[in-house]
Assembly symmetry: C2
DNA sequence: CAGTTTGGCTAATAATTATTAAATGCCAAG
DNA sequence: CTTGGCATTTAATAATTATTAGCCAAACTG
């Protein structure tokens, strides 16, 4: 990581001495002269200059007026996520982030996912002269990876994940969302509410599941583990699969009359499974999702959902990353945005 | 656009003379020294240095070895498009683009849409030291805007749009897609096929509509304008609206037994409208889309669609932008990727 | 009014970098 | 072994940039 550290400034004269060549040759090489210069020597000089972070005298770009400076904020996706999976949730976050950054004169630099960002790749991305002034993480990343990123760029904000004491974060109010949903269903007369979980193993799932359990307790309802399913991806197909796993138990007298799903996509998949099995939504079973995006209103039936608007998460992340100082003694902020209930057509009175 | 031109190199001594100050002061300012310097003078010096494209001697970054250089490709969206509209189509393009760029050591810089990119903003984004080495346009932009972009960065590729003679482009084979769909429906016995159009006014709609008309003719089928609708957005809601506009005509003996829609989202909306009206898809009416994304397989019913895979468009765009030279005499390439038919559950035998 | 302080800038000189004619090393041919 | 040619590098000097003590004018204070 030599290129990341910025020690005392080094001169061409020093470079030349290190390499056993003349300063004149160093100057020629760093200005791109190839003619009459041995290719190996050329490469050796460039490599050494870059590895020692050589910068010429004359101007400190990082001290130029703000409005003249290229400014970018990098976006990093958690492992297993890419720009088109999980449909539109993180796309909405990205839109909110981008809009808020653009208003402040920043561009959004898409860096890829945790899986892609090996040390060589990071070195290249954060090459001398880069304009990256903060990082926004979509979802939860491994602790070691986060440490690595912070060494390079200490101004980090996580969205929909919490790395307590390690970086800033922005989340929706999960307990509020689950509580609101449970109350909505209780008001409709539901006394047995099942759970369809996805992204199991991520903190986000844990948080939502615990909030579901707490909301059941607060409403005086039973938390029956026989009607909870836990899957890995949290996509539509798993919503369908989770529902299909439970449907054989439907003849039981205590089968749930409603299900809450980890996210909107699982709700969509669960609804599809129910309809395909000849059941009525919400007539026979109600389904609701523990997050919200505009897709909820576009589906058929419209899906009842509670959560924070994804765009607002992105906007809040932009504000936070741009006020972050990256100092060692900086206080970390967790911003918890309020959740709201959207009542669609997927929930109705209990049978 | 003075910052874009790169004339003869200018020295601090020349800057000082222009401004009527000493070279010493210029050096201090450009290295960020504020103490003992008047704020107006500080700004005046920086502004002049930047406007003349001052760069210190010592190193020509643009001549550094390729692998050591920060390299980015900028993504620009057509007017009215943002990262979360039109669901996943351009997200899949972006994913394909990003993956192919990352393999070659490039990062993807999200620049926003045509509406956002005013001259001041462009100047900032393309500030001295930027690493942008090409631009990819998603969708069709205005001609004047394209000219403006090319002045800044001549290596431009348009995706799903063709600016003939102005830049490179990557498109799916629209005639092939429409032909395939019409043939598929003809084989199922359909003799009357309607059209639901979106993004009317964009070249993309025109191309698809014309290809639809040509395919009807080639199949010896009638192109009946009474059963064609033309709307502006091309989203789900307009798919629904277009279908609902035509449904009152359903009692006619020559009402179409199938519809082709401009894109997948309109198909989804049209199917929703039919189901909501008590009709059967594909029993009563078949619906198919003139583009393809994996969403076609996730819907209920799965939607029959033909088109090029969006990710492949992105990958082809990456290859093209990285081989572009930006020279004034460069030949422009239009790359037309083959379309494929995905048969879902939304098409079946004609009634 | 005179002396002191402060803010802003510069002349002078040192350090860094650029340029070019000349030097050096290597290899092949005689 | 010597010589010539070519490829590569450098010594010397010019140009550019950095640093700092000093300069000057305006404002303040007694």
């Amino acid at each position: 990581m030599a290129v990341m550290a910025r020690p005392a400034r080094i001169s061409q004269t020093k470079l030349a001495k290190d390499l056993g060549v003349s300063q004149a040759l160093v100057s020629l090489v760093l200005n791109g002269r190839r003619e009459g210069i041995n290719a190996d020597t050329y490469k050796r000089i460039w490599d050494h200059a870059i590895s020692l972070g050589y910068q010429p005298k004359g101007m400190r770009m990082e001290r130029s007026p703000r409005e003249a400076r290229m400014r970018q904020v990098g976006v990093v996706l958690r492992s297993g996520l890419n720009i088109h999976t999980q449909g539109s949730y993180f796309n909405h976050v990205l839109h909110g982030l981008h809009s808020a950054l653009a208003e402040r004169g920043y561009a959004t630099l898409f860096l890829g996912s945790e899986d892609d960002l090996k040390p060589n790749r990071l070195r290249q991305l954060f090459h001398t002269g880069h304009g990256i002034q903060g990082l926004v993480l979509f979802g939860e990343v491994r602790g070691a990876f986060l440490q690595q990123l912070k060494r390079i760029e200490p101004r980090v904000v996580a969205v929909s994940a919490r790395h307590t004491g390690r970086c800033h974060s922005v989340l929706g109010n999960e307990p509020q969302a689950l509580e609101t949903l449970v109350q909505h269903l209780a008001k409709l007369g539901h006394t047995r509410i099942g759970w369809l979980g996805g992204n199991v193993g991520l903190g986000r799932h844990e948080a939502r599941y615990q909030a579901y359990q707490a909301a059941l307790q607060a409403a005086g309802l039973t938390d029956d583990k026989r009607y909870a399913v836990f899957l890995k991806q949290g996509d539509r197909a798993e919503g369908t699969e989770a529902m299909l796993q439970l449907l054989p138990l439907r003849t039981r007298k205590d089968f749930p009359t409603a299900f809450l799903t980890y996210n909107l996509h699982m709700s969509i998949g669960a609804v599809q499974a129910l309809l395909r099995s000849g059941l009525n939504v919400p007539g026979d079973v109600s389904v609701a999702a523990a997050d919200y995006s505009p897709l909820a209103q576009q589906e058929q039936p419209r899906i009842t959902a509670a959560g924070c608007e994804a765009e607002k998460l992105g906007q809040a992340a932009a504000r936070l990353v741009l006020t972050a100082t990256g100092e060692a003694d900086e206080s970390f902020h967790d911003v918890i945005l309020p959740s709201q209930l959207y009542v669609g057509e997927s929930t109705g009175p209990a049978r």
